[in-house]
């Protein structure tokens, strides 16, 4: 079926359903049915169908078609940082936040709205960003729409 099927017999591999709670922490809403598009091979599928590796220093999410990393989540105490630069598109039209929706479009850098609640806080990297700087701060932005 897909490139990872043989390797996905690796019992460590779960799917996007397993990070439903984490996604609510980061995005503030249900995201497992969100539409994703892989930046490496262009495959589109619901987030729940991505391949998830949780038993690691962070949560790594890979494309089921080509195996490329599409998302990485690292939790440090009350903060979860998220790298979405492996996606060209992440869209959940039913999600509406105070500051807009998360949309990543081809040619745009990955951005996300953030909310500085006590329980979660997200920082996104764009593919064009310099290697991780520990002083990255979130930016409050107007929603971007394509």
């Amino acid at each position: 079926m897909d490139a990872l099927d043989g390797n996905a017999l690796d019992g460590n591999a779960l799917d996007g359903n397993a990070i439903g709670g984490l996604l609510i922490d980061v995005f503030g809403t249900e995201m497992t049915a969100a539409a994703t598009t892989c930046a490496t091979c262009g495959a589109s599928r619901p987030l729940a169908e991505l391949v998830v590796y949780r038993r690691a220093p962070g949560t790594v999410v890979r494309c089921r078609t080509c195996g490329a990393i599409v998302m990485v989540f690292v939790r440090r105490m009350e903060r979860t940082s998220v790298d979405l630069s492996g996606l060209t598109s992440l869209s959940e039209p039913r999600a509406l936040w105070a500051s807009g929706r998360v949309t990543i479009c081809p040619g745009h850098t990955a951005r996300g709205s953030h909310r500085d609640t006590r329980s979660w806080y997200a920082v996104t990297w764009a593919r064009s960003c310099a290697p991780h700087s520990p002083t990255c701060e979130p930016r409050r932005e107007e929603p971007t729409q394509c």
Partner: protein, 247 residues
């Protein structure tokens, strides 16, 4: 505007354990009463968190076994080398408190408006969310026809055995036992494969909706089998439990 109502539903809360009852020698159903619960959809799960006295915590996810409208219940398989499951299915008692949050899940869910017919494939404890869907189908008197194929190691490992035998018209339940079967067993044996699916699952021409849940290797084989029968991939929904059946 802040969606505080949604956030409240998804914060951690201490649910009272109402009862612990045993489905099999190693599988328990735990009925829970969270103080702040707005209901759930069939197929969703809760995250559970245990905290030791020194602050050490362990979290796992468990599918909701009850149908929407019924009291919250989860079904837990005690795993030999598990960290959380031996506590939930072994130590936990009525009157205890259990920290949980939920319901979680927006993809692997079914409601009457999703229609049917339904092909439900369960590997081991993967039957739990599918049982929620079947109970929901029954209580809503949805017309959706359903076929459940349940793969278990042996007859003694089949969860909800009596209940699954009592569904009436419109729900057909088949079993395949992979490691042992009782004398005189006339059901299927061995792991699911294309031949078994061709015999038991809805044919693709019926435009069925499929839900597959269980260990990762089971889900991979079952999903490939249904796609091989002609099911469009977008009509096959999957939920993987990893190698050991828990998440």
């Amino acid at each position: 505007m802040e969606t505080t109502a949604i956030r409240g539903r998804l914060n951690w809360q201490a649910a009272r354990v109402i009862s612990v009852s045993w489905e099999t020698a190693s599988v328990a159903t735990i009925e829970l009463e969270p103080p702040d619960w707005a209901g759930h959809r069939a197929g969703q799960h809760v995250d559970v968190r245990l905290t030791a006295e020194d602050g050490y915590t362990a979290e796992r996810s468990y599918s909701i076994a009850s149908a929407p409208g019924e009291p919250l219940a989860i079904t837990v398989e005690r795993l030999e080398d598990g960290e959380v499951s031996p506590y939930l299915a072994g130590e936990l008692r009525a009157g205890d408190e259990l920290e949980l949050r939920g319901p979680i899940g927006g993809y692997f869910v079914w409601g009457p408006s999703d229609g049917g017919p339904l092909t439900l494939l369960a590997g081991g404890s993967g039957v739990v969310p599918l049982r929620s869907m079947l109970r929901h189908r029954v209580s809503t008197r949805s017309g959706a026809q359903a076929r459940l194929l349940y793969s278990a190691r042996g007859w003694e490992d089949v969860i909800y055995r009596d209940e699954l035998g009592q569904y009436g018209d419109g729900i057909r339940v088949s079993y395949t036992l992979t490691r042992s079967h009782p004398p005189g067993w006339t059901g299927h044996t061995g792991r699911i494969d294309s031949a078994l699916l061709a015999e038991v699952a809805w044919p693709a021409g019926a435009n069925p909706l499929a839900y597959i849940c269980g260990p990762t290797s089971f889900v991979e084989a079952a999903a490939a089998g249904l796609v091989g029968l002609g099911y469009p991939p977008e009509r096959v929904k999957t939920e993987r439990f990893g190698a050991t059946g828990g998440r």
